[in-house]
């Protein structure tokens, strides 16, 4: 990463006794698409609102190009934002909405007209400038909101769950649009969502928020392959957790025993664990191998359900201790043919694909 463009330094926000954001630190590169991913109440939206200037942090600083933003009021920050709800000005036409930030800046009329045309072209809504917001669909309104937020060439564009009010198909369509517009304009985007799929589809990097802190920042594949906390492992991709006993631990690796019958060595360890302590073993359904043949190195389980999901088949299993483990296999996989509920099978996994989370 080149010299940090936007720096968030130890941002905190407390509402009385409630801490919404604990200590958020983040460097964002110019032109990056960074997503704040987390459940509601994790502090992601509050952080975004602090960037917009609608909330004042109780501590910390935000630097844009090395200069603090906090003393600048919202309307002078020159930041663009697309909101969760539809925020087009209802009494103005689409064209007037896009022209609004330019008129506020007292640009010459010819320049405004040219920019409005350029923006309508960018969001592919040419010919809609005379429509009123109420005459447009939700997806179109959010595209106009995007055009309005980009019309004044802001250095940073904030997006607060802009697609959450749209249905799934439309959402995917506009995700493509947002990606294209990001590539075309090279604007730095900070995007808030609770939808992991949306985050993975759009972002260069993802910051996973939990309880007011960032648990982990990284690209989608990094978060998936190497989750730093149990929360990240649960949030990105599918995962199951088995209670296990730590046999030995050291150098970020652990040897563990599961269900008293099986030990596995050299699994990546996160958090602290020592010999004899309890921990949780994370396994991903798509990384488990299922075998009908008994084997010493496999974990014995019984099949509790088989679900056909198009190109995948989902096999639900139970360990001897009663823990649930899911296995996902491609349709037509030889291990599934003739498999029935109640069958005894053996599961194997690669130590590198599993993770142990200590206390």
């Amino acid at each position: 990463m080149s010299k940090p463009f936007l720096q968030i330094r130890g941002i905190r926000k407390e509402y009385g006794p409630v801490t919404a954001v604990q200590d958020v630190n983040l460097d964002v590169a110019q032109g990056e698409f960074l997503t704040f991913l987390g459940p509601s109440g994790s502090g992601k939206s509050t952080t975004l609102y602090i960037l917009a200037g609608f909330e004042d942090p109780t501590g910390g600083d935000i630097l844009l190009n090395g200069e603090s933003l906090l003393s600048t009021p919202s309307h002078k920050r020159n930041i663009g934002m697309v909101f969760q709800r539809y925020t087009l000005f209802p009494h103005l036409s689409v064209g007037e909405n896009i022209a609004f930030p330019l008129k506020v800046r007292r640009l010459p009329k010819a320049e405004i007209d040219a920019k409005v045309r350029q923006m309508l072209k960018l969001v592919r809504l040419e010919g809609f400038e005379d429509r009123k917001p109420a005459q447009m669909s939700g997806g179109q309104q959010q595209r106009v909101a995007l055009a309005r937020a980009l019309a004044y060439d802001p250095p940073v564009l904030l997006m607060d769950e802009p697609l959450s009010a749209l249905d799934k198909k439309l959402r995917e369509e506009i995700q493509h649009e947002i990606r294209r517009i990001h590539q075309q304009t090279e604007v730095t985007i900070l995007y808030v969502t609770h939808d992991q799929e949306e985050a993975l589809r759009l972002s260069d990097r993802i910051a996973v928020f939990s309880k007011g802190v960032i648990d982990q920042i990284g690209t989608g594949p990094e978060l998936y392959a190497n989750p730093a906390t149990r929360f990240v492992a649960e949030f990105i991709g599918d995962s199951d957790f088995l209670p296990c006993n730590v046999v030995s631990a050291g150098n970020g690796r652990a040897e563990i025993a599961i269900c008293e019958t099986m030990t596995v060595a050299d699994i990546p360890l996160h958090g602290t664990a020592s010999s004899g302590s309890k921990a949780a073993l994370m396994l991903r359904p798509e990384r488990l191998l299922l075998s009908k043949r008994q084997s010493e190195s496999g974990l014995p389980v019984t099949v509790s359900d088989i679900t056909f999901l198009g190109n995948n088949v989902h096999v639900a299993t139970k360990t001897s201790k009663g823990n649930n483990l899911s296995v996902r296999l491609p349709f037509g996989h030889e291990a599934i043919s003739g498999l029935n509920r109640g069958d005894a099978v053996w599961l194997k996994f690669d130590a590198e694909s599993a993770h142990v989370f200590g206390q």
Binding site: S74, H75, F83, T87, F100, V104, R105
Partner: protein, 266 residues
């Protein structure tokens, strides 16, 4: 629909009859007054023996009637402006503010609507007697403002509740100062509420008689007070003419409200 009119059979006729009777009950007194104002009888005989515009001529020839109409109009206009401005400020405070007793304060602002007008009139009269505001334009304006403000707060407050604050926030991020965002975005978006507030404030003052009787002096009285005073002295059809004009203005304003509402919606 729960109530299917086509399946009601002869009940439909009953309902129709009730509707006609209710409408007649509401409208007849008004039509009666209007008819009398054009009647030739000096004693307000109904039905009028013949028709004349004489009472209207007398009305417009009498400077006292015109003076009271002008007084009413002045007061109503000032009350309208102040009521909308104060209503706007109050509504923003009540809707956006986060403070203790907000709900209580909201209810307090609406009390003039439920308080008996006579009680309010006596209280205002006693108070204004002390500070010498009885019989003055200021006194009229203040007392009518007390009556009109709840309507402003209600209609502007409702419009503001229904307006998503994010839209104003969006305008601020677009570069408009908080005040500019309110003037250029929020006010136009809640204009229907402001318009209703203005009309209701105007009518509250224009039609008001109880408080006005207490406030008026021989030299300063509003049109409703003049109608009332004239009725007590001599029963002349000029009163009917004045009342008809009062009603006409009210109806015109109501029609204007309906038309503008429709225009704002589309």
């Amino acid at each position: 629909m729960l109530l299917n009119l086509n399946r009601l059979g002869w009940w439909k006729l009953v309902l129709f009859g009730i509707t006609v009777l209710t409408t007649a009950f509401l409208l007849l007194p008004i039509l009666f007054i209007a008819a009398l104002s054009f009647g030739s009888s000096q004693w307000l005989i109904f039905p009028p023996p013949s028709w004349t515009l004489r009472w209207y001529q007398e009305l417009f020839a009498d400077p006292r009637w015109l003076a009271s109409a002008w007084t009413s109009f002045q007061i109503a206009i000032i009350v309208t402006v102040l009521s909308v401005l104060l209503g706007l400020a109050t509504s923003f405070g009540l809707t956006r503010g986060r403070f203790a007793f907000r709900e209580g304060l909201k209810a307090l602002f609406l009390t003039p609507m439920i308080l008996p007008v006579v009680v309010l009139a006596v209280a205002l009269y006693a108070f204004f007697l002390k500070i010498g505001l009885n019989g003055t334009l200021t006194g009229f304006v203040i007392s009518h403002l007390v009556l009109a403000l709840p309507f402003s707060i209600l209609s502007i407050g409702n419009a503001l509740e229904g307006f998503d604050k994010s839209i104003e926030d969006a305008a601020v991020l677009c570069g408009a100062s908080p005040l500019e965002a309110k003037v250029r975005v929020t006010l136009p978006a809640i204009s229907h509420g402001i318009f209703s507030a203005a009309i209701f404030s105007f009518l509250t003052s224009w039609d008001e008689v109880v408080v006005a009787i207490f406030m008026s002096s021989p030299t300063l009285q509003t049109l409703p007070v003049k109608v009332w005073a004239t009725l007590r002295q001599d029963l002349t059809p000029v009163v009917a003419a004045a009342s008809t004009l009062l009603i006409l203005l009210t109806v015109l304003l109501m029609v204007l409200v309906a038309v503008v509402r429709k225009g704002l919606k589309s």
